[in-house]
Amino acid sequence: MRLLTHNMLACNIKGVTKGYPLKIEATKTEEKETDFNAGFLRHIYPKLDWKALREAAASLGLEELPEQVEPSQLEDEDFLRRFHHVLLEIHLEEGALVCPETGRRFPVSKGIPNMLLNEDEV
């Protein structure tokens, strides 16, 4: 799974109010090339939780993203390429996503996060 997905996922256990953002525990990450599409990046930028994306990138030791993005940067190809790389080209293959409130671990294996809840959590 890519960081774009991480940015959209939350812990949905009954009663949890702050199940976002999930902490990443990575044991294996991979880089996979993805077609660059500036229009898509401009579409998705305002939907993202930028702080969560920055923190996720930092926790994986990736190149730093700026704290704030100026509208002009969304026209700048250099910036968009860096943004694209972090958002879409880094895959979490093995590890876990951890709920910040309950500490519940959602395992990620073979690139697939298991977000399914147990009987006592629905």
């Binding site: 997905t5 959209m8 898509f40 690139g111 977000m115 009987e119």
Partner: protein, 491 residues
């Protein structure tokens, strides 16, 4: 400009919807104008569409699955003489640019419901020798293709009433379909499929209805082996899939997984494949207007009925939830319970209303009873407008309809409450329909084209019954036997 459309004789109810979607995909706003040639009926392969330019027509035809092509008609009529008169009367300035010395060309002869022999084709071509072509004939990659389409007053191969009197068209090809791409995506050649994998043709139609294109994000909450997402990825969209069954999404079969299906075709791997429950979605609450399309085949079948989290006993209050110890949590497979169609559709429409961009599309199948069909049975949502409703007959009594809904405005909490109320009414109305369709489902299963395509494959039940008390009403062997009996009788 009016263009003649010559359709492949397949999925008749999907044809106009597909053209409408593709015209929209080309950025053309407004209602598409179309008409049938004189004296024709709705099953005709010939329609006329009013499109703003040749460029649009070329794009629409190229991406279409159900069109053979779009043509500028120079002459048409019930007899060759009428066609000739038409061509002679057609404005010189429209013809001259394509008849010059430096324009290579080819003449294609086609019919409807009949293939012409080479001799017959030559005879027909000779009849048009009066056209003053000056350029060289080139069989491969000519500059222009001219088409002689002679319907011969054909009968519908399915035994429907006669289509029309003989009608002949002579026209210049503006665009031709790349339908051949379906061969590459044929399920028979796909490495990993399950019993509910969507056949290539229908899944491409779904991607077209969803306006999949580069830069769009397409989600399938019931992705299974990825068959509804693959065409979207083929058209350059980013894809995202979820499924409740971990065996399908993670383990696959004989080393092949959903990922290897994308690899097989050289497509960009999905943004993510998740194991998740449509009823307990794992998205953060404030996700709005993010997906451009949600394209799916919700589970309603016998072999892959819907499942949601929580055991049957747990949800009905007959059992207390049991708390797992840390040790048990590793590798624990949570129970699932049956998920009714009405409930599933409510969750799906709510998901679409929340997460689609405005103008984004929800494309999904619903099962319907043919004799008792009433559009009022279809699910509705205040901000999802039904833009297409195409029926695919599975048996005489049972069909499925591909619904395309377009999001018309922003999602609010009041809307969510109103939608929940609509959904409750829908659910009550639907109980009867669902009861009935259960009896019919088996027949649908037996005659549906998507099952048929899998005959050559070894298929395993991909749907999980990993719960404590699931229902798997029909066994694999039973279905195969019934299939033979049923086909011998009806197909």
């Amino acid at each position: 400009m009016w263009f003649l459309a010559f359709f492949a004789h397949r999925h008749l109810d999907f044809r106009i919807a597909e053209v409408e979607s593709l015209v929209k995909l080309c950025g053309v706003e407004g209602q598409l104008q179309w008409k049938k040639p004189e004296g024709d009926h709705e099953h005709s392969p010939f329609y006329y569409f009013d499109l703003p330019s040749e460029e649009v027509a070329k794009k629409v035809a190229g991406r279409s699955i159900l069109l053979k092509g779009l043509y500028e008609v120079w002459g048409s009529g019930h007899t060759v003489e009428e066609v000739e008169a038409g061509i002679r009367a057609y404005p010189e300035e429209r013809k001259a640019p394509f008849l010059g010395e430096d324009v290579s060309f080819k003449v294609v002869v086609d019919g409807f419901g009949k293939a012409f022999t080479m001799e017959e084709q030559l005879q027909k071509m000779e009849r048009f020798a009066f056209i003053p072509w000056k350029g060289p004939v080139r069989m491969k990659d000519p500059d222009v293709r001219f088409w002689i389409i002679d319907s011969l007053g054909g009968y519908d191969p399915l035994g429907l009433p006669p289509l029309q009197d003989r009608i002949i068209f002579f026209g210049r090809e503006i665009g031709a379909s790349e339908r051949g791409v379906l061969g590459k995506y044929d399920l028979k050649k796909r490495r990993y499929i399950g019993p509910t994998s969507m056949d290539a043709e229908i899944s491409f139609l779904m991607a077209n209805q969803g306006l999949a294109r580069p830069g769009s994000l397409v989600f399938d909450p019931f992705c299974g082996t990825g068959s509804c997402l693959i065409p979207a990825a083929h058209f350059g969209a980013l894809t995202l899939g979820a499924d409740i069954d971990i065996r399908v999404v993670k383990y696959g079969k004989r080393g092949h997984t959903i990922w290897s299906n994308f690899e097989q075709y050289g497509l960009t791997a999905p943004v993510a494949i998740l194991r998740a429950d449509n009823h307990q979605q794992p998205w953060r609450n404030d996700i709005r207007e993010t997906f451009h399309a949600i394209v799916c085949d919700p589970p309603y079948g016998v072999r892959a009925g819907g499942r949601k989290s929580g055991g049957k006993k747990l949800l009905s209050g007959k059992a207390e939830p049991y708390v797992l110890t840390e040790q048990q949590k590793d590798g624990h497979i949570p129970s699932t319970a049956p998920y009714t169609l009405a409930e599933c559709l409510h969750d799906l429409l709510d998901l679409a209303a929340r997460t689609l961009v405005i103008g984004g599309r929800l494309v999904f199948f619903v099962p319907c009873s043919v004799p008792d069909y009433d559009p009022k049975q279809l699910p509705t949502h205040p901000i999802l407008r039904l833009v297409a409703n195409s029926e695919q007959l599975l048996t005489r009594k049972f069909s499925r309809r591909l619904l395309t809904m377009q999001k018309t405005g922003p999602y609010t909490d009041e809307l969510a409450a109103a939608a929940a109320e609509t959904s409750r009414e829908f659910r009550e109305r639907h109980v009867e329909i669902v009861e009935q369709s259960r009896n019919e489902e088996i027949k649908a299963l037996l005659c549906s084209s998507k099952r048929g395509e899998e005959d050559g494959n070894e298929v395993e039940v991909a749907n999980g019954d990993d719960g404590e008390d699931g229902d798997v009403p029909v066994t694999e062997g039973g279905v195969r036997d019934e299939l033979r009996t049923y086909r011998a009788k009806w197909c």
